[in-house]
């Protein structure tokens, strides 16, 4: 993840780059981000955080994040993307019941009485959820008191413009410029 900080405050510039990376790593979002631009103007105050994601957020099914194969009347799964493991288990339990799901190892599961196609079609993450998670992550990196926020989303680019009191037109214009510069 490449972090580009544009700031008028020398200390804040250095520390925010580190802080942003650590928070994103902490909440497991670092791997989703290709590049981030942070514009910090504490004197205004105005904060523009723009992230370019590695891939456009899309819905994920079990078939996207696990290898599924039919074995007689049962289905066997090998989870390939660990981030979705809790969600896969949750969906399998919900649809087939806990008794039908036999977790043999961390990544290997048998689903008794389930067809391969039914298991593959289960939705484990919606695109809306992914976008909300990313916006939540960006909010978390911003200073706490900067509560008036506006969000732009276009394809792989998410930009949050935030200030403390009135959101003025020039702030939104500046936010849009950063948003477009990121490739929106």
């Amino acid at each position: 993840m490449e972090v580009n900080v544009i700031s008028e405050d020398e200390y804040g510039n250095e520390s925010y780059s580190e802080l942003f990376s650590k928070i994103m790593a902490d909440i497991n979002k670092q791997s989703h981000i290709e590049r981030a631009t942070l514009v910090l103007k504490p004197t205004v105050p105005l904060f523009i955080f723009s992230v370019k994601l590695r891939a456009e957020p899309s819905s994920k099914t079990v078939g996207d994040v696990a290898n599924v194969r039919g074995e007689g009347s049962d289905a066997h799964l090998t989870i390939t993307d660990e981030r979705y493991a809790p969600s896969i288990l949750e969906q399998l339990w919900k649809k087939f019941g806990r008794e039908a799901v036999d977790q043999q190892t961390r990544f290997d599961l048998d689903v008794i009485g389930a067809s391969e196609s039914d298991v593959k079609a289960l939705l484990v993450a919606s695109d809306e959820e992914s976008i909300n998670d990313m916006i939540g992550a960006i909010w978390r990196t911003m200073p706490e008191g900067i509560k008036n926020r506006r969000t732009f989303i276009d394809g792989r680019v998410i930009t949050v413009v935030a200030t403390e009191e009135m959101m003025e037109p020039h702030m939104l214009e500046e936010g849009m410029r950063v948003h477009e510069a990121e490739g929106a």
Partner: protein, 310 residues
């Protein structure tokens, strides 16, 4: 004069230590037991220090210096939100506790933001009840300078901890430690631990100055002596709150209701004097379930005596 020190060792034969503290007329300020390990912060008469040290060594423990023992310090952040807690505020508090202090972590109700941050009179008075306060702010110089009003009129020695070095607000704090801003993880690297020590050193220094001022006109009795007296009072003895009596440099915080127990506490006798005559007893601003006892200085007691014709 009492000296404060800490025993750190095993539980084995610790009864002998407690007996000796009692025999020499000392007081146990704090006792922490974890499995078979024990740490005891105690105040003992200066002359008996060597005997206590020898016993601690004999029973297999060691004596540590606790320069902040007998003090209660507030570590204050703009809010209790995850942007400020637990790091670095709790790290600072933990390091102060290692030096013997009792610490309280506080967040202001409306301390967030730059233009909208504020502190109310009640919060100022609560912070003023402590021996010292550490005020933690963030990464932006401009914001730190704008938030000066949060701590300018607090009536207790104050250490400001923040990222950059602010300008033009030198009169608002007693000491400053810069280079510690918003953190996402525990301060565990060597430079970070050094910063925590720097903060504790700054607190120690301002409290040393407060002690020096107190010594110019000493307290009528040492807070440890009042503590001993209060320990025998049943509501204090039965109090289940952690640390029912907390020592301050110039008095104590006692965690029993003010309205209910004030009269009884005022009538207690020390050196033949009523506690109500030699101390100012008031309810804590936090709530009515604790009271503050501020011990008057010798000159204050003499002045009061003259006024009362005693």
């Amino acid at each position: 004069m009492f000296e404060v020190m800490m025993y750190d060792g095993g539980i084995y034969r610790s009864e002998e230590l407690f007996e000796m503290i009692e025999d020499v007329g000392g007081a146990v300020l704090q006792k922490n037991r974890s499995s078979q390990m024990l740490s005891v912060t105690m105040a003992v008469p200066e002359g008996d220090r060597k005997a206590i040290e020898a016993l601690c060594k004999d029973i297999g423990g060691e004596v540590k210096s606790v320069p902040l023992a007998g003090t209660e310090i507030a570590v204050v952040g703009p809010t209790l939100g995850r942007h400020h807690m637990p790091h670095p505020i709790c790290d600072i508090a933990e390091n102060l506790r290692r030096r013997g202090s009792i610490t309280v972590v506080m967040g202001l109700a409306r301390g967030r933001g730059k233009k909208t941050a504020q502190i109310n009179l009640e919060e100022r008075k609560i912070i003023g009840e402590y021996d010292a306060a550490v005020f933690m702010l963030g990464n932006f110089k401009n914001c730190v300078e704008a938030k000066t009003e949060l701590f300018r009129e607090i009536d207790t020695p104050l250490v400001l901890v923040c990222g950059p070095v602010p300008e033009g607000i030198d009169d608002a704090y007693d000491a400053i430690v810069s280079g510690v801003g918003r953190k996402m993880e525990r301060m565990r690297t060597t430079p970070e631990r050094a910063k925590l020590d720097e903060i504790a050193d700054a607190v120690e220094k301002i409290l040393l100055e407060k002690r020096r001022i107190l010594e110019e006109d000493p307290l009528f009795v040492h807070p440890a002596e009042v503590k001993q007296l209060l320990e025998d009072y049943e509501p204090v003895n039965m109090c289940l709150r952690p640390g029912p009596i907390v020592m301050h440099l110039d008095g104590l915080r006692v965690k029993i209701g003010y309205e209910e127990h004030r009269r009884h506490v005022e009538d207690m006798k020390v050196y033949g004097r009523r506690l109500g005559d030699i101390c100012a007893i008031s309810p804590s601003k936090i709530n009515d379930s604790s009271m503050l006892i501020r011990i008057k200085t010798r000159s204050e007691v003499e002045h009061d005596d003259r006024k009362a014709g005693r």
